[in-house]
């Protein structure tokens, strides 16, 4: 009888829980950790790659977990990537629809809220299961500048200064962020903080460009620039940061 309230996404258990949504959140914990940090001059997104096989041809797609939605919004995924692809497709469509109507880029929160409405729908109208993905959205708009949002399978979302999704050790990540985050941080310091957080949550020997993805948003003049670190840039960056870490420790 324990499974009575498991089968459908749309009904509460007597304790007032929706099990399928909770299971979806558990699914996300199996994915690699993804960290987002808001800086005063940009946003950093960093992620741990879980699927690294020797024979996997990684050259075709540079990015496995970071997706550009529009010129001013990107998102990082934790969870089932195929589910995420559906939502990302929808996000891109929403963004262009807004641009078509107003000839202005969509404000970040509106985009996040639209995707979350779709996610919420599957917890109420009863598809087979909810979307098993959490997102971190990084974006810039003229109303609120740089913004970082997190969303989960229930359709909840909130704005954050620094947060992480996915990963077995997300508690660790959150506590490092809480103790090390400063509001006047710049994006270069944020990159280093993100690395610090990820090294705390994963096997230290794995800290290299095969296992990590780093990207950042910043502004050059009026232009919003999004950059994904290439494997070489990333390895150089890790090398430099590690040296500094040792200096700190000594």
């Amino acid at each position: 009888m324990a499974r009575r309230y498991d089968q459908r996404t749309t009904i509460f258990s007597p304790e007032g829980r929706v099990y399928q949504v909770e299971y979806a959140m558990t699914a996300i914990r199996h994915a690699g950790a993804t960290v987002g940090i808001l800086a005063k001059d940009g946003i950093v997104l960093a992620a741990e790659k879980k699927t690294t096989a020797k024979l996997l041809d990684g050259s075709s797609t540079i990015s496995e977990k970071m997706f550009k939605i529009d010129e001013h919004v990107v998102c990082a995924v934790a969870g089932i990537t195929s589910d995420a692809n559906i939502l990302i497709n929808y996000a891109r469509l929403s963004s262009q629809r807004y641009y078509y109507t107003y000839q202005e880029p969509i404000p970040v929160e509106q985009l996040v809220s639209q995707i979350c409405d779709t996610k919420q729908g599957y917890t109420q109208y009863g598809g087979l299961r909810p979307f098993g993905v959490s997102f971190l959205y990084a974006g810039w708009d003229k109303h609120f500048g740089f913004q970082l949002y997190q969303s989960d399978p229930s359709g909840n979302f909130a704005g954050w200064k620094a947060t992480s999704i996915g990963g077995e050790n997300s508690q660790n990540a959150q506590s490092v962020l809480r103790s090390k985050y400063k509001p006047d941080i710049n994006y270069k310091e944020a990159l280093e903080l993100a690395l610090k957080v990820l090294t705390k949550t994963m096997d230290r020997s794995n800290v290299n460009s095969d296992k990590l993805e780093f990207s950042y948003f910043t502004k050059k003049g009026d232009q919003i620039v999004y950059h994904i670190l290439s494997p070489k840039e990333l390895d150089d960056f890790i090398k430099d940061a590690d040296l500094e870490n040792e200096n700190e420790d000594s």
Binding site: Y102, Q103, E104, K142
Partner: protein, 192 residues
């Protein structure tokens, strides 16, 4: 003789519209305000079939209000112009609104802007704009005399010059409404 006229001045936009409603040879009223204030920082001037005008302007105004309630901030003037255009373009092949519009607004970040729209769904960003028969006489006059550096007072003088020209050339004449929009909001300037 329906007339809509607007041009940019150094601190905002001046907007003039006739105040008459006519049907066939009959003048129904001459105190109609054809300049609707949207969100306190935009002016929508409308000419055309009175029923369509009322319906369409309300529809736009309420949609802007809805946007504001949903998101906590208002659409910028350019975004609003594009929204209005897309609504006109969507309706032209199903249930056309017989309305011609001018949209003027003042945004704190980008300053004053002025847009010309017609019922077919065209949109033009201009420094001065005119709808109706008045354009035959006024566009040349404005080419000669209009500058975006005019002060509001000089702008009002130019408006008077324009209306003088209309009164010289039009078969019949009526009253006008003049409004000025700037960073301080909308001001009705006594004109007749």
């Amino acid at each position: 003789m329906e007339t809509l006229l607007a041009f940019i001045v150094n601190d905002g936009v001046l907007c003039l519209a006739d105040a008459g409603i006519t049907r066939s040879i009959v003048k129904m009223k001459e105190d109609e305000d054809k300049i609707m204030v949207l969100e306190g920082n935009k002016l929508l001037l409308s000419a055309g079939e009175p029923g369509d005008r009322a319906q369409f302007c309300e529809y736009i105004a309420k949609n802007l209000k809805l946007y504001n309630l949903r998101h906590g901030y208002s659409l910028s003037t350019p975004a609003c112009a594009n929204f209005v255009r897309s609504e006109l373009a969507a309706s032209i092949r199903s249930n056309p609104y017989q309305v011609n519009l001018i949209l003027a607004g003042f945004d704190n970040d980008t300053g004053a802007s002025l847009f010309f729209l017609d019922y077919l769904g065209s949109l033009q960003k201009l420094d001065f704009a005119c709808h109706g028969y008045a354009s035959y006489f006024l566009l040349g006059l404005l080419d000669r005399h209009h500058k975006t550096t005019l002060s509001a007072a000089e702008g009002v003088d130019l408006m008077r010059k324009c209306v003088e020209e209309l009164q010289t050339r039009f078969l019949v004449n009526g009253k006008y409404v003049l409004k000025h929009i700037s960073k301080d909001g909308v001001m009705v300037i006594p004109f007749n």
